[in-house]
């Protein structure tokens, strides 16, 4: 599955790119699977996703829990907890 991944805040800084297009293996079913897969892609990913529990995932710009499937995603956002307001 080809999908556009966008990164924000310190996740973006550690991975050192704002976005990329990835072809995901079929074993990646849930948002949590995706984080574990990304962690294997290099040191920056490993540093960004060291504690996957704190990382937030959005599918097509809507928040999802880590156990939710990402099938049908066109865009997946990956970012730390929000600190706006």
């Amino acid at each position: 599955m080809k999908v556009r991944i966008v990164y924000f805040a310190w996740v973006r800084e550690r991975i050192d790119k704002p976005e990329e297009e990835l072809d995901l293996p079929e074993t990646v079913v849930t948002a949590g699977d995706l984080l574990l897969h990304l962690k294997t892609l290099g040191d920056g990913y490993e540093a960004a996703l060291q504690y996957p529990d704190v990382i937030r995932v959005a599918v097509n710009q809507e928040h999802v829990d880590h156990d939710e499937p990402i099938a049908g995603a066109r865009e997946i956002g990956i970012f730390p907890p929000m600190t706006g307001g």
């Binding site: 924000f8 959005a58 710009q61 928040h63 956002g77 970012f79 600190t83 706006g84 307001g85």
Partner: protein, 154 residues
């Protein structure tokens, strides 16, 4: 049906102008509550905040939160504006306006939107420190989650 007015913008805002947009020509609004959040200098240690956001999703989340507040508190008007980019101490970061016939709904509506905006709208603050070091990303606070959770219906 009232829909929220949502803006994610670089520019500052004027409160009276934004209120007038909601109340002009209306005779049924009795109460307007605004919340504005400003950048503090943390006792002189902070030079600026850098606000990053997720374009598109930020507006969508703010619209979703605003619509929830309108329904829950029967609001007659709701505006939420969040700035991005570099913000100096003393400058505005965020504005929420809630209009209702009576005051408690307006207070609750504005408070509700702020609590959810802080925990669900995709914005992140980075500190630029006065000593020239880059500072770091502001950490999310458990207190913000607790403030949001007080709105859970029993």
């Amino acid at each position: 049906m009232t829909t929220p007015i949502i803006h994610v913008q670089r520019e500052d805002f004027d409160l009276q102008t934004e209120i007038d947009r909601l109340t002009a020509g209306r005779m049924d609004i009795g109460a307007v509550v605004t919340f504005s959040g400003l950048c503090r200098d943390e006792g002189g240690s902070l030079d600026a905040l850098e606000l990053e956001h997720y374009p598109g999703m930020a507006e969508a989340e703010m619209r979703r939160i605003g619509a929830l507040a309108i329904e829950r508190f029967s609001l007659m008007g709701m505006t939420a504006i969040h700035r991005y980019g570099k913000i100096l101490p003393g400058e505005n970061i965020v504005l929420v306006i809630a209009c209702a016939p009576h005051r408690q709904a307006a207070f609750d509506g504005a408070n509700f939107v702020m609590d959810f905006l802080k925990t669900a709208a995709p914005f992140w603050k980075k500190e630029h420190l006065a000593d020239g070091t880059a500072g770091g990303w502001v950490s999310a606070k458990d207190a913000d989650d607790a403030a949001r959770d007080k709105w859970a219906k029993g």
